[in-house]
């Protein structure tokens, strides 16, 4: 009953008026950015990070996580109404959600999507509550070699398993790690890659880099690829699904939740891959697979459940091991470090109020999202008409004010513009910037653990292989790389 007591304590933290307010703000903001096709949770989190530094750590994390899962929750609305994913992770919902909307069944599609998100969210929070303390307990025995190998595994798997070419993503991770070494080396006080600029002595602030890559570069990209805005279908009549709909979807929801909950824990897989896996599973189990793509409600329910379950269980490695599973988690992890919290297994016990408060707030947030999404669906659909040309000046303005407020430094603002240009060029070359942020946040941690490992072993790098758990992580890394390589060779066009 230890966990029950902790959960109740968590609700005490999450239900204080201030934290409840941050939960509402986070979930609402998440809904808005999830629906707006031009603004995603990564950009929003990067933009709001500086403000959260003035808040208590638990409130900051409650709000930031609300933005993240709120966006995953709401993105299906855009997919169903516009045939365009509000977030990349909801692309699968377009396949059957939009055909349903065109058949006049937008209401049931939205309702089933919201219900399956809610159900999956509740189960996923339960998984976090039950699984995290166990995992943290195991990880408490980890020492530097285990951490080093675990970080390598996490970086490699999140780079290769996410979308985009694996080699390029790996290179972007390494580039991020390199950027993480910029500044004064804490052990020797040597300036690395500072080129004599005093402003670089403290290293690159990850907020500055994130704003450049996710706000500035993204806006340039969108303005360049400017298209006429799609018009949403107007009317939503009758939200309530029929009995057949519920009978047809409860099993896909259960399967999707299980799939997403399990895949979300691994770095790299997560919402996008889970929702594709669930769609494939439902289609292969269906009696008549040809219905898929033409408005099969199972094709909305399963992937939507998987997507949301994975978005939440993605928090497990971050909260218990200090390893971010994706770019958004990396930003939150960076925020925790700035708040003075050392990420790792001790967070669950040493900062129990933070951990359980955030877990409880996720439950509250999920319930709130159900209330926000369904009755207010008309408001959200009107939001889809918001033109991008009104949106992006606001994104830029708030990003710049946030970056300036970090250290009241004009240099940071100018540096963010520089990273915007670099980010745009990288994007145009087909390199996605998300893995870079993972590397940047993890870089100093990885270097420190590697240094400690080699100090323990007196310079013998085989220590990473003689510690059994560490060796297992490295073997897994090699397996992932080999699988990627084999797939790449198989997919290579013959000449």
């Amino acid at each position: 009953m230890h966990i029950l007591g902790s959960i109740i304590a968590g609700f005490h933290v999450a239900l204080t008026p201030a934290n409840l307010l941050y939960c509402v703000i986070g979930a609402t903001l998440g809904t808005v950015v999830g629906i707006l096709p031009g603004l995603g949770p990564l950009t929003t989190i990067a933009m709001l990070l500086p403000i959260t530094f003035k808040m208590p750590a638990v409130s900051a994390l409650i709000m930031l996580s609300g933005i993240y899962y709120g966006a995953h929750h709401a993105a299906s609305t855009t997919a169903i109404m516009l045939n365009m994913p509000g977030e990349p992770t909801s692309v699968v919902i377009c396949f059957d959600g939009h055909p349903m909307a065109r058949q006049g069944r937008a209401g049931p599609a939205l309702c089933i999507a919201a219900l399956s998100s809610f159900f999956a969210g509740c189960v996923a929070v339960l998984i976090i509550a039950l699984f995290s303390p166990v995992l943290a307990d195991i990880a408490l025995d980890f020492s530097a070699p285990e951490y080093t190998s675990m970080m390598v595994l996490a970086l490699v798997s999140s780079a290769t398993l996410s979308d985009g070419p694996a080699l390029t993503s790996l290179a972007m991770v390494v580039l991020g790690l390199l950027l993480g070494t910029v500044g004064t080396d804490i052990n020797t006080n040597v300036q690395r890659f500072t080129f004599g600029l005093p402003n670089l002595y403290d290293g690159l602030d990850f907020v500055v880099v994130a704003v450049g890559l996710f706000a500035v570069a993204e806006i340039v990209w969108r303005l360049q690829h400017h298209h006429a805005q799609a018009q949403p279908l107007d009317k939503v009549r009758g939200l309530l699904p029929r009995w057949e709909d519920i009978a047809a979807t409860w099993k896909p929801i259960l399967r999707g939740t299980a799939l997403g909950g399990a895949l979300g824990i691994l770095p790299g897989t997560g919402p996008l891959i889970s929702s594709f896996a669930s769609y494939g599973l439902e289609r292969s189990l269906a009696r008549d697979p040809t219905r898929f793509g033409n408005g099969a409600i199972e094709g909305v329910a399963g992937p939507e459940a998987a997507n949301n379950a994975a978005a939440l269980t993605h928090f497990i490695p971050m909260l218990t091991l200090g390893i971010p599973a994706g770019a958004a988690n990396a930003l939150m992890l960076g925020a925790l470090i700035i708040q003075g919290i050392t990420p790792g297994p001790s967070v669950v016990t040493d900062h129990a109020d933070l951990f359980w408060g955030v877990v409880a707030s996720m439950w509250i947030g999920n319930a709130m999202l159900l209330v926000l999404n369904l009755p207010l669906v008309g408001v959200w659909i009107r939001l889809l008409r918001m033109p991008y040309r009104l949106l992006y000046p606001a994104i830029i303005a708030f990003s710049c004010i946030g970056v300036y407020s970090l250290a009241n430094s004009a240099w940071d603002v100018i540096l963010a513009a520089g990273f915007g240009v670099a980010g745009y060029i990288l994007t145009a070359l087909g390199c996605r910037p998300a893995p870079l942020i993972l590397g940047l946040v993890m870089g100093p941690l990885l270097e420190e653990n590697l240094r400690r490992s080699l100090l323990i072993s007196r310079g013998d790098p085989t220590i990473l292989l003689t510690h059994p758990i560490s060796a297992a992580f490295l073997v897994l890394t090699v397996v992932i790389l080999a699988a990627q390589f084999a797939r790449g060779v198989a997919a290579q066009p013959r000449r």
Binding site: K54, V220, I401, V413, I414
Partner: protein, 148 residues
């Protein structure tokens, strides 16, 4: 078929250049011994990995059909946004927040495909008001910083 230079080959070359510079610069910081990693140890290691990955990306890029990066239509948003942000950074300390936001929003709006005067004015007013609110109440900075 002749190898075609496209986006992937170019990005591979870029990674190679960065990796190589990291190795060359990192060596000057002192690599140290494995027991006591010098400040250059980790950067040189990463530079080497990046160089290898860069070569692999470039070779792969040369073997697959690929297109050159498309920069058309990007110059205007790029220049306008950089001018907006850099101008904001330079102005905020001397000219105050209001002037900086005015410049920022005007420049940012110029980055878009069409400049609609009324919308831009409304954007300036709304964003300016919200910015002042965040600046003074959210971030606790003094109202004196709003004006020059």
């Amino acid at each position: 078929m002749m190898p075609r230079i496209g986006r992937e080959a170019l990005s591979g070359a870029l990674f190679c250049i960065i990796g190589l510079s990291a190795i060359l610069l990192g060596r000057t910081y002192g690599i140290g011994t494995t027991t006591h990693m010098g400040p250059g140890y980790f950067p040189v290691m990463l530079g080497t990995v990046l160089l290898v990955l860069g070569v692999a990306v470039a070779l792969r890029g040369l073997r697959i059909p690929d297109s050159l990066p498309d920069f058309s239509g990007a110059l205007r948003p790029l220049v306008c946004l950089v001018a907006a942000i850099v101008g904001f950074g330079l102005m905020i300390e001397r000219g105050g927040l209001l002037l900086a936001v005015l410049w920022l929003v005007l420049c940012a709006c110029a980055a878009g495909p069409r400049f609609r005067a009324i919308e831009v004015m409304l954007s300036v007013l709304t964003l300016g008001a919200i910015a002042c609110g965040i600046f003074v109440y959210g971030l606790g900075l003094s109202p004196g910083d709003l004006l020059p």
